[in-house]
């Protein structure tokens, strides 16, 4: 198209502006100005934590989630997932409606609001030393320690890319494999899993941690 010459700066500016002041992007080449060799060493553990009411947990990000401007929906959060801020990702407006409706429905149909413990899920957080991301396990899906232990081994010790369980890695109460399962109880103490009857355990466990036996110090308070 012939015509007046495009003024360089005006076009560049308007192009940038266009990109910002409308829908579509222009496709500018992705120049990598930075050397790939530049890396930053990150001190400290990387840990993803949940914003539990109970936990004063380790990472800054968890504390942040707790304090991060939870405006109106603290109640609704507790009513639905109760564990993580902003999860599941449902708009506050809808959350509030859901909570109100749940209350209405519960009043109308008490059968649907069963609190039978065998039907309710009981998720507790499980972390394993050396693995940055925690998992959650439904304790009500198990009726004994062995079942729980097997489930945790499936979750943590089975490498994700292939199906082979590393031979010999088990979470044993005596820690002879190098790994031991501990839990934090209602009083905030860390105990070895397996010492008390299952029912009592269920009643007092708040979260689980698979520790390396080299770090376990028995009755000493664990600092996360």
């Amino acid at each position: 198209m012939e015509g007046g010459s495009a003024s360089g700066s005006a076009s560049t500016l308007s192009n940038n502006e266009n990109v910002l002041v409308s829908c579509e992007d222009s496709s500018s080449p992705a120049e990598n100005e930075l050397e790939l060799g530049l890396t930053l060493s990150l001190g400290g553990e990387r840990r993803v934590s949940y914003a539990d009411d109970s936990s004063s947990s380790s990472s800054l990000s968890s504390r942040a989630s707790v304090t991060a401007g939870i405006k109106r929906t603290a109640d609704s959060m507790a009513a639905t997932s109760g564990q993580v801020v902003g999860w599941p990702p449902i708009r506050s407006y809808r959350m509030n409606s859901m909570v109100n409706q749940a209350k209405t429905l519960a009043m109308e149909d008490p059968i649907k609001n069963r609190t039978d413990a065998t039907k309710m899920r009981m998720f507790v957080k499980v972390t394993m030393d050396g693995i940055p991301i925690g998992r959650k396990v439904d304790l009500n899906a198990h009726s004994c320690y062995e079942s729980l232990s097997n489930a945790l081994e499936e979750m943590f010790l089975k490498p994700k890319t292939d199906g082979h369980l590393e031979a010999g890695l088990k979470i044993l109460p005596d820690g002879s494999s190098g790994l031991v399962l501990t839990y934090e109880d209602k009083e905030g103490d860390w105990m070895l899993v397996g010492d008390v009857p299952w029912g009592m355990f269920i009643g007092s466990v708040k979260r689980l941690r698979i520790m390396k036996t080299s770090e376990a110090t028995g009755t000493a308070q664990m600092i996360l």
Binding site: E2, G3, G4, A6, S7, S11, S14, N15, E17, N18, L20, V21, S22, C23, E24, D25, S26, A30, N32, L34, L38, T39, L40, L42, G43, G44, R46, V48, S59, L60, S61, A64, S65, A68, G69, I70, K71, A79, V85, G86, W87, P88, P89, I90, R91, S92, Y93, R94, M95, M98, Q101, A102, L105, K112, R114, M120, I133, K136, E154, K160
Partner: protein, 586 residues
């Protein structure tokens, strides 16, 4: 020989060019085309209110009639952005009031709008016609009254899921008797009851009214009389659908619905009682959009309704619909384009009582050939299901799967959901929006980076193993425009290595990841056209470079650093003396 088109001719030609994308291209041809285009553009859209200054926009487009603005990042919807972050409408309204007093339409999303803003609008724009506020907050019903009383040519007033300080229902009474131009009214998010007689009079004198969305406080009885006054409605949002009506009232309501020959969209239906569902049967065949996401109706009661909605294109529903209900959708709603299934949530309604699994979505993907947009909340999913869905529906444009349990694997094989999402991005070549969930390794993101070439928006939570994940995305997804990530274990390396990519995107959000303060500083220094905002409620000045920050929000901008940052938002301009000397360089 002068080959230039006379500007009058160009103007005439441009009057047929509606798309802003085309207009952007036109503006780049040469200076005179730039000038002609900018003087004739009527509809301006700014998708990040901090990317340009209001003055710059007003200066460039003096003939602006319609302005659309978006403020806070998307994750603000889920309370991840602290109060007071920003997104204020005031500077824009002030600038437009001064430079573009002919402005007629304002559409704001996720912005802070005060009563002062609304009063300014009412006072400044003589021919104001359209106000649409979506997910906004900061104003009260007094502000609405100001709009109602002053805007004598008002056509549309829509409040979509706003947080409004509700001081009562009087605001509606401020619409003068002379206002007859109303086309659309949506006050569904307000709590207070409005005076029914005022509402009836307003509806009666609005012959052009096409869309009416009531709030929950409007009773079923009142609905009947309103429908009789406005049988021409194309969109209806009911109020509460649960009052006990006598037989006569019920049959009158049924009659009113059957008179509504133009109705295409139905929503509201709060607390709808199963025995009232048949009232809707007469309008079902005409419906293209049905929002049942606030209707706590159980599956059996929904089936009959759904079988009659043969022209439905958009369905929003709760997981109470169950797999069985979705099978009915699959066989009855052959025109379906968009499906959203929301969780019914709270204890007592949770998954142990609701039989909705991945199978429901699979059925819909099989039965509905035009399905292109999906939002699906469920408790668990499988790779096989996603593979099937991808095979059935390669025409998917938007796939948002929310497996509600973080890190949940394929519930049949216990494997990560990598292969499932791989199938989705591989097969659905036009996929523009994707939300992933469940247990995912870096592999999933390698697949997305390799295949997601048209992907513009990506949302990720609780996923991945390392920086590789982010690197795959930033280096592979060519069309990536918005990326939002929470609770993933990485940050620095990939971010810094792909910094240039960030200028080609609208924005990047990362929260509860492992991005260090040092990386933020480095990015800020290297990329002056980006605003790198660190949103962290703990003081940063004394933090070591290696400490992770709570949230970062990075966006490209021509406006430079913004001047309205609260204490908890840091950018390098706030403390320019903090250098990057402490970084460890390998």
């Amino acid at each position: 020989m002068d080959l230039r088109l006379p500007s009058k001719v160009l103007e005439h030609i441009l009057s047929f060019v509606d798309s802003n994308e085309d207009r952007n291209s036109v503006s780049l041809v040469c200076k005179s085309w730039f000038e002609t285009e900018r003087r004739t553009r009527k509809r301006v859209i700014v998708r990040n209110c901090y990317a340009v200054t209001p003055e710059a926009v007003a200066r460039r487009f003096p003939e602006m009639r319609s302005l659309t603005l978006k403020g806070k990042p998307h994750f603000a919807d889920y309370n991840l952005v602290p109060d007071g972050w920003g997104g204020y409408a005031w500077p824009w309204i002030e600038a437009m009031a001064e430079k573009c007093p002919s402005l007629e339409e304002l559409r704001l999303k996720r912005m802070v709008v005060t009563d002062e803003c609304l009063e300014k609008i009412a006072a400044s724009f003589k021919d104001f016609k359209v106000l649409v506020l979506t997910s906004c907050e900061g104003f009260s019903t007094d502000g609405l009254a100001a709009i109602a009383v002053a805007c004598s040519n008002l056509r549309e007033l829509e409040l979509r899921e706003c947080i409004v300080e509700d001081l009562g229902g009087d605001w509606l009474s401020y619409f003068p008797e002379t206002l007859t131009s109303l086309v659309s009214l949506d006050f569904s998010c307000l709590d207070s009851e409005v005076k029914l007689s005022d509402l009836e009079r307003l509806v009666s004198r609005s012959p052009n009214l096409k869309s009416l969305k009531l709030n929950r406080a409007v009773s079923l009885d009142a609905l009947g009389s309103l429908l009789r006054l406005a049988p021409q409605l194309v969109e209806l949002g009911t109020g509460s659908f649960s009052d006990k009506l006598d037989q006569e009232a019920v049959s009158k309501l049924s009659q009113a619905f059957s008179e509504m020959k133009e109705l295409k969209s139905l929503s509201g239906l709060w607390d709808v009682l199963p025995e009232y569902i048949p009232l809707l049967y007469s309008v079902c065949p005409g419906l293209t959009s049905l929002n049942l996401s606030y209707a706590t109706v159980q599956m059996p009661d929904l089936l009959e309704l759904l079988t009659r909605c043969s022209n439905l294109q958009k369905l929003w529903v709760m997981d109470l619909i169950e797999d069985k209900g979705l099978e009915v959708v699959a066989s009855s709603c052959k025109e379906l384009r968009e499906l959203r299934v929301f969780p019914s949530g709270a204890e007592g309604l949770n998954d142990t009582n609701v039989a909705m699994t991945e199978q429901g979505l699979v059925s819909v993907s099989e039965g509905c050939p035009n399905l292109e947009s999906v939002l699906y909340f469920c408790v668990q999913f499988t790779n096989a299901a996603m593979v099937t869905i991808a095979r059935n529906r390669p025409n998917l444009k938007c796939f948002r799967l929310c497996v509600m349990e973080p890190f949940a694997p394929d519930h049949k094989t216990q494997k990560p959901l990598d292969e499932g999402f791989k199938a989705i991005v591989e097969r659905c070549k036009d996929l523009q929006r994707l939300s992933v969930s469940g247990l995912l390794t870096d592999k999933a993101f390698e697949y997305i980076g390799t295949h997601g070439k048209k992907l513009r928006m990506l949302s990720i939570a609780f996923a991945g193993d390392s920086d590789l994940m982010l690197h795959h995305l930033l280096s592979g997804c060519e069309s990536l425009n918005k990326l939002e990530i929470r609770d993933c274990p990485f940050g620095d390396t990939a971010l810094v290595a792909n910094a240039a990519k960030l200028e080609t995107m609208r924005s990047l959000w990362m929260s509860s990841c492992c991005v260090s303060f040092g990386a933020c500083k480095l990015l800020s220094q290297k990329m002056p056209k980006l605003n790198v905002e660190v949103i962290d409620e703990h003081p940063l000045e004394t933090r070591p470079d290696s400490s992770p920050v709570e949230r970062i929000y990075i966006y490209r901008t021509l406006a430079g650093p913004r001047l309205d940052m609260p204490e908890f938002v840091w950018t390098i301009q706030k403390n320019p003396e903090i250098g990057v000397s402490h970084l460890a360089i390998k």
